[in-house]
């Protein structure tokens, strides 16, 4: 029997600002622009919104930020607030909004994020890991490098295979006029790129971008009543989490993505072979490689072979990050992947993948600490 929430909620509208370096813009002003654009896309009046869910900005942390957003939007929501799961937050909030809607806590929800780490501060990504700073243990890239090194040593994954992910995202970004980075990348370029924290090179690291994005969530029934032009059904969602210290994980090469996908795929009634296209959180190239394994697109340890030879590019077996992902479209964590998932279901991507199968979207936060999965399709 189908899950009761399969397709019950929809993404009715999507909106965003430009991506890249946006001096002079505050997170609140970018939020307003993205929400205005998402409401316009949905064809819904602001007064219909009674839920406002936000990811807090890393550049300017503020307590009760959700209420600042509500004020900027001129809204007094019934339900809302800020969640902190790092980059997994956006899909988790979309899931929470869908459950609130299903249970009568609100009817039309805005889920939004905006940040300016490019012109503001990116310190959140370079800080020390507590007491272990005495060992020189600093920064977010180092946490991913520690996991990548184990994967390489255990399974023979290579830097060139990580490079294949950067090449795919750059190709899709180059086709997307809205992408912050549109220059193509060759495997040779990737291999010539300098080490940041070995085994990760500069070209393995995502962009750091200013920008804002928003989606409008409501029930499928409500979308029909309001005459929403192109609502995209939410078929399934799930989450999974690790605890804090990366070093303490019994197995560095398996992540909470596995539990997250299992929940989402069960709700959606799909298996990996049903999925047409995937938007996989690519803060660093090792991340989508391991998500592909943990989601069951290939066996554990075979992610490196899976991504080679254009298999994850348009025309390949499973195209990923068809708007460029965090590596090329925008470093803004996560919502842009959801928006591209909506475009793939609507058929409006600049790297459209033919067919009518669902699109899976993966969000992930911290150093593979938090994971959330969304399955979109008709």
């Amino acid at each position: 029997m189908a899950h009761s929430m399969r397709g019950a909620a929809v993404i009715a509208g999507i909106g965003q600002t430009a991506h890249g370096k946006l001096p002079g813009r505050t997170p609140l002003s970018m939020t307003v622009e993205a929400v205005r654009s998402a409401l316009r896309d949905a064809g819904v009046e602001k007064d219909a919104v009674d839920g406002v869910f936000c990811k807090y900005p890393t550049s300017t942390f503020a307590s009760m930020y959700g209420q600042q957003v509500a004020e900027a939007l001129g809204m007094r929501p019934r339900v809302g607030g800020v969640w902190d799961q790092g980059g997994a937050t956006n899909i988790s909030m979309i899931s929470f909004a869908a459950m609130c809607i299903e249970n009568g806590q609100c009817e039309v929800a805005i889920v939004t994020t905006a940040d300016n780490p490019r012109t503001g501060t990116r310190q959140a990504y370079e800080r020390a890991w507590g007491d272990d700073a005495a060992y020189g243990w600093f920064s977010t890239p180092a946490g991913y490098a520690m996991i990548a090194q184990r994967h390489m040593a255990q399974y023979g994954t290579t830097s060139e295979q990580l490079g294949a992910i950067a090449v795919a995202c750059a190709r899709h970004g180059a086709a997307n006029p809205l992408a912050a980075k549109r220059t193509p990348l060759t495997l040779q370029d990737h291999q010539a790129s300098e080490w940041v924290v070995e085994p990760l090179r500069r070209a393995d690291c995502c962009l750091i971008s200013d920008g804002g994005a928003a989606v409008v969530v409501m029930s499928a029934r409500r979308a029909a009543e309001l005459g929403v032009a192109d609502p995209v059904p939410i078929l399934g969602f799930g989450q999974g989490q690790e605890s804090w210290e990366v070093a303490l994980r019994p197995d560095l090469t398996t992540t909470a993505a596995s539990a997250s996908a299992q929940t989402a795929f069960t709700m959606a009634g799909v298996t990996p072979s049903d999925i047409r296209v995937a938007q996989l959180y690519d803060c660093f190239t090792i991340t989508p490689l391991m998500i592909l394994e943990d989601y069951g697109f290939c066996k554990k340890g075979q992610g490196g072979a899976f991504v080679e030879n254009g298999n994850i590019e348009v025309g390949g077996q499973l195209p990923i990050n068809t708007s460029g992902g965090l590596l090329a479209e925008t470093g803004m964590p996560g919502m842009q992947l959801v928006i591209e998932g909506v475009r793939q279901v609507r058929g409006t991507s600049t790297s459209q993948v033919p067919g009518d199968g669902p699109c899976v979207v993966a969000n992930q936060g911290g150093v593979m600490h938090t994971h959330s999965t969304l399955v979109l399709g008709r």
Partner: protein
């Protein structure tokens, strides 16, 4: 003071971390073991993360350990490490089970490191803080 011109700001240590450091200064790498479920752990804390009991006993580790994974920093994220790049940070697992973040010293970058490479304790100091580093054994 270490490095070129900058001290590493470490968080104010908890009483358990202070205990750990005092023992380490005396050359003893220690960990905590639960009195109830006998789980062993690091980093120091005031309860067992397995059964949540507050009753535990400090034990000295043998100093034998193995490599779980490692990275090499090619740029410093803090001025104190500017003149040390390229340097490794390594996850090590003690023979007794607990894991910690550490450095393998006495090698260039990460030369000779692989999964399960055997290591031996080499206590050093970083400023006035004792640190549990390791050498190839």
């Amino acid at each position: 003071m270490i490095g070129t011109n900058s001290q590493i700001d470490l968080p104010e240590p908890s009483p358990d971390l202070t205990r750990f450091r005092n023992r380490l200064s005396a050359g003893r790498l220690s960990f905590q073991r639960c009195d109830e479920c006998h789980d062993a752990w690091l980093p120091p804390r005031d309860h067992c993360p397995h059964c949540l009991s507050p009753a535990f006993t400090w034990e000295d580790a043998s100093g034998r350990a193995r490599v779980v994974s490692w990275v090499v920093y090619h740029r410093a994220f803090h001025p104190a490490f500017a003149d040390r790049v390229p340097y490794n940070v390594t996850v090590v697992e003690l023979a007794e089970g607990p894991r910690l973040i550490s450095n393998v010293v006495g090698i260039s970058a990460a030369d000779g490191l692989a999964i399960d490479t055997p290591l031996a304790l080499a206590v050093e100091t970083e400023g006035d803080v004792p640190v549990a580093r390791f050498r190839l054994s």
